[in-house]
């Protein structure tokens, strides 16, 4: 694509620097994994400072014997390597209407990479889970003040025991075949496939098994769907990713020649697998099946899809894409509006003009 000049390349799109929040140029991502230069960055606080040269991972709480693992200990356990989509729960927040406060993510708060690590289950079993254990809290080294509370908090999240024990929930130490880049959680990051990425805690400080419900602010205040503007009624936690798709080509508001064009993009889900992607060129009246390229796609990865469109007549067109998954979930025509702007997954659409 960039053959005309090798230095013509896309960049992250800057949303904020303190903390660093930058999104992937998702419409220009053609590779199956995103390298750290273009992998989206989402932070709640400034980058942490900690002695990662003498790093130890403690596991405690409701366990038979507290453990302290060195990196070498972790390397000796059986490992698991998985290719997964990580998507910020706020991805596409900018598209909500009425608009929602907070980082105005466009469509690029999502990336894909291969992570390798130890299944969390192995570590928990080696520590011995006590009866009555309910959740596993993972706390990162990042911390700071919150604008709504007069206190400093670390970034910490819990997983229900069942999710923590899933054999694909891993304590990762590699990203695309190398040590995890510092921005993405070096030396250890929790990887919780299928959940929005707030669950995949970076720079792990310690792991605690709890026999009660964890109530940190990133669990009880943020990452909660609040369907109403002014009250907390019907609030429920953000967990697994919704079924979703994004059109990569053409670009929104492009002017194209009459003729044949390839419409393509990605589709992903947090439940089961993508079974169908449809494209509409008549504002949703009729839908045609796009071709799904499964080559290289795995259980937790996005799929690429494409549709060959012959635009014979001049005029303005709306191009829409809609993905469905094996749990019979389908992208809705309208997003589920919620006050904090999580989980946007309405049908994707762009407009083009044929000249």
């Amino acid at each position: 694509m960039n053959s005309h000049r090798s230095w013509v390349q896309p960049f992250l799109t800057t949303k904020s620097l303190l903390p660093e929040n930058q999104e992937s140029p998702i419409e220009f991502i053609e590779s199956d994994t995103v390298d750290s230069r273009l992998f989206y960055r989402r932070n709640h606080f400034l980058y942490p400072v900690f002695p990662f040269n003498s790093y130890w991972l403690p596991i405690g709480g409701a366990v038979t014997r507290s453990k302290l693992f060195s990196m070498d200990d972790l390397f000796r356990f059986p490992s698991k390597t998985i290719k997964i989509v990580l998507e910020c729960a706020g991805n596409k927040r900018r598209l909500f209407n009425p608009k929602v406060y907070g980082e105005q993510w466009d469509k690029g708060a999502i990336s894909q990479a291969v992570w390798k690590g130890v299944p969390l289950r192995i570590l928990l079993e080696s520590a011995g889970i006590k009866e009555g254990a309910k959740e596993v809290v993972v706390e990162g080294y990042d911390y700071g003040p919150r604008s709504d509370l007069n206190q400093v908090y670390p970034y910490a999240r819990s997983l229900p025991l069942e999710k923590a024990m899933d054999s694909d929930t891993i304590i990762a130490y590699e990203f695309n075949g190398r040590p995890i880049p510092f921005q993405h959680g070096y030396p250890l990051r929790l990887i919780a496939p299928q959940w929005y990425a707030m669950a995949s805690v970076k720079w792990i400080k310690h792991i605690t098994v709890m026999d009660s419900e964890f109530s940190g602010p990133f669990q009880s205040i943020d990452y909660v769907y609040y369907p109403h503007k002014d009250n907390e009624k019907d609030a429920r936690p953000v967990t697994e990713m919704n079924v979703n798709s994004t059109i990569q080509n053409p670009k929104d508001m492009d002017i194209l020649n009459a003729g044949t064009h390839i419409i393509n993009g990605i589709a992903w889900t947090g439940k089961g697998r993508i079974t169908m992607v449809e494209v509409s060129l008549d504002k949703g009246h009729t839908w045609k099946q796009a071709e799904i390229q499964r080559h290289g796609s795995t259980e937790y990865s996005w799929v690429r899809w494409s549709y060959k469109w012959t635009a014979a007549e001049r005029g303005e067109y709306k191009i829409m894409s809609r993905a469905s998954d094996s749990f019979k979930r389908k992208q809705p025509s309208q997003p589920f509006w919620n006050r904090k702007g999580y989980g946007y997954n309405a049908v994707d659409h762009i407009k083009v003009k044929i000249e």
Copy 2:
């Protein structure tokens, strides 16, 4: 600002790669000149290939004697060094409503740099301008097909003789104290201060004095204000920049604490100089004067402005900025809509929430 980690930095925002169109992260630009890493890039075609190691600049047409200048010839002429704003005529196109086709520039198709070169006037006078000369055409080495015409065109633009003879219209060979980066027109770029940047032709191939009106497509089709959607009535050429301002801080849809916040940004104009920047916090009912920092600003540069705002009460606020210039031009509350989306300069505004 980035002291917490020196590698936390903003990037260009990618709009397209073929040709390369990327905008400056303008809200994060704190320096008075923008280096080539963050200077916006706007191309009509792929980057040109030409023998710039044996480069010569020809001047011909309605002149007494055609000339061929070497780079060394140019370096021997008196030089002029100017700090100027370059703004793409399509800057802020994304904000038009109804939406307009073409590259969806946000607020970052604008940058500032110091350019050094020979006044075009000196070169024209050395060639001898014939009586009846009307325009000076500058053609770049970049060329390619257009989607609306079945022909390949070079990028070329004319200046009226008067603008070409302005002592501040230069044939630049330096950008921020160094040879011009290839992306920005190496080895020579026309710099026409105060005009939208389509006039500042890159990679100059030749200069031609004309005794008639130039009608290339980048002059007769593009860079024309068409006020009506379906006809060419009242069309007029895009020339000098409109008076304009952009809020840099806070960011749109930020959530802030109650307390004092600095609202700041830049303001610029293509006619005279900025005389006033006002800020409104009540949807435009009342306006307060912002403080203008003239330190470092010059005749053609942007100015920085700031306003100290004490947000005592919780709630949602619209922050607006409005610049005025010495020709009594003031940003309008509504943009002048035109079919190709040029010259957007309505009052800038963002929203924030105080918690």
